[in-house]
Symmetry: none
Subunit: 414 residues, 2 copies
Amino acid sequence: MKLEVVTIGSELLLGQVVDTNAAELGRALAAAGAEVVRHVTVADRPEAIRAAVAESLERTGFVITTGGLGPTRDDMTKPLVAAIFGKPLRLDAAVLRSLEERFRRLGRPMPAVNRTQAEVPEGATVLPNPRGTAPGLWVEDAAGRVVVMLPGVPSEMRGLLAEQVLPRIAQRSPGTVVRSRTVRTAGVAESALAERVGAIEEDIAPLTLAYLPSADGVDLRVTAWGLREAEADRRLSAVATQLRARAGADAYGEDGTDLAAVVLDQLRARGARLVVAESCTGGLLGGRITAVPGASDVFIGGIVAYDNVVKSGTLDVSPELLERHGAVSEQVVSAMAQGVQRQFAVDAALAITGIAGPSGGTAEKPVGTVWMAARLGKEARALKRVVPGDRGEIRARAAQGALDLLRRLIADQR
Amino acid sequence: MKLEVVTIGSELLLGQVVDTNAAELGRALAAAGAEVVRHVTVADRPEAIRAAVAESLERTGFVITTGGLGPTRDDMTKPLVAAIFGKPLRLDAAVLRSLEERFRRLGRPMPAVNRTQAEVPEGATVLPNPRGTAPGLWVEDAAGRVVVMLPGVPSEMRGLLAEQVLPRIAQRSPGTVVRSRTVRTAGVAESALAERVGAIEEDIAPLTLAYLPSADGVDLRVTAWGLREAEADRRLSAVATQLRARAGADAYGEDGTDLAAVVLDQLRARGARLVVAESCTGGLLGGRITAVPGASDVFIGGIVAYDNVVKSGTLDVSPELLERHGAVSEQVVSAMAQGVQRQFAVDAALAITGIAGPSGGTAEKPVGTVWMAARLGKEARALKRVVPGDRGEIRARAAQGALDLLRRLIADQR
């Protein structure tokens, strides 16, 4: 089943609010076997709303809208959709009662403007919205064309979607799903990975493959469109296995797997504990690691050695080393890892030093130069990367790179 | 000037990635006086992309696309747009050189697939992208119809937009702007702030006011719509002054101002240096502070004391204190701040300890309980908050709360 989503609101086009409803609808509908083939956003202007909804209805016969159901003047979705279907608006007594009841519960008089919220297109199904004043509406004509109107408030939209819309959609298209599976890689460039994966697209059709690069690395996302659930899962599983094989040691997990969680699991399995020493990341690596619930049985803490005073004073990096090689060097990052490991007397340590910019770069060490070190027992590795991006991205890539270095060190020790 | 935005990527329709590019484009274009009248998202399917771009071009004559410019097979925007304009793709020698140069700098061989990224529609203007491999492209025909293709990676899109696209658009549409100004507050609830601000909406019309709560606090955003630039700025400035006066000590800055930068400036003005001691935030506070370029003249570093072993061993928090009051207590957070200040012998210190969840809460200390401490010289403050949200939000609120505590301590000392 294919459908289109129309999100309505000037604030969305002006970028004052990020349209999380669209993403949430896409996710939930795909899981229920419905494919969103287009998403359109228009402003709170009657002609724009009317045109967008009518065109989407023309293309797919099924449209979900969000927004424009409030009591104020800029809320006009309902009369416009009613007009598309050629249906008049009628006051719905049950909706009016539940509105009045809601205001009574909140201990406030119901403003007159809210009365318009009890008007529904003739013959429409009212989708009760216990979280807000605007109910959802399901309008369907004899030809089976459907427009579902949902409020724009994310918590209300989400509730109506789960409780009212998805069950009805699942009934219309029993069986098929749109489902994805992701193989996550780190430490390899998109194009190098693509060469390794090769021309797999024809072999896996009708499944599709997308390369999604980010500061975390490159995700390989394969999607099955509109297959029966068991068939989709079987094929996705086979393709994921193929992709993992081709990605080799660069693959660290699937779907939402966080590299920090992978490393914590590796260390937990060995009963090892972890500390960090951070310069340019300033605490981000520790922040990444402790974002994983339950990190506390592996992660002890660390030293943020932003200033060289802390590198020498607390981490025992010799001032001569700092002088001779500079703070961003293999020698210093290795000494940082060794220093923090010794200080806390633990098995595993990570260290990062680099030039995050925007200033501080030189011809020899440009902005983006990052040295990372990992230690497990007496074994140590250091790695230099010159990574792209702005300050935030460079620091995120440094944290991910350090975690990946330790992941590989542990894996190779097995 | 009116235009449409087409964002391309199956991952957007599937909701696996939230489309932040669309919001960012809307914001930046509004500020440049261009109105996004429609935003369309389509999957990585040739027919869907071609139809969406052609329809948008038909409606407004000006389209900006994001995504589908990478080196892999799922990237197909460029040939499709070239086909709409009836122009062949040609290898651009300058783009190829800069691609090869980029790979040389990163110390990697350039994979053959990247060569396709050097192909541009005949006659197109290449918009250099120093942050990535895919340049932006500006294609314009004799009738003045324009399609601007930008990469989907947010940092690359943002850079190209600011440096290449907005200056060209500003030249095309002199005159009115849609412009906002934001007064940022911390440490006050939305409803309390709303009572203080009062019924200002009618006084400021046609400007509009929105309350935007987040983990940073509550932002007050006022927007001027379609006024001439000087008039918009004059009115926004007057309203911002009013709002700051009503928000009082809770206001810490305007627009994109980061509270960490405010605190760094306060400390810099006094020649003071700062250290941190973090438990539940695990390094996030240091990460927040060092996200500010130039933090290094104020921020020295800190201790991530995730485990109590580090609190007592490195921060000198007495084990009896930990035993008697628990790690999340006024006594322990105060001792952490004192310990880290003493260890690094600096003027200013911040400490955080709390229960970020999802587990670890008790009836007395529920998940969300956070103790924060700030020290400046011998003066010290500690503050407890029970904050809402999930693990990530609780930790973000804790970091922001600690910074706000130090901001107020410094301000009161003046």
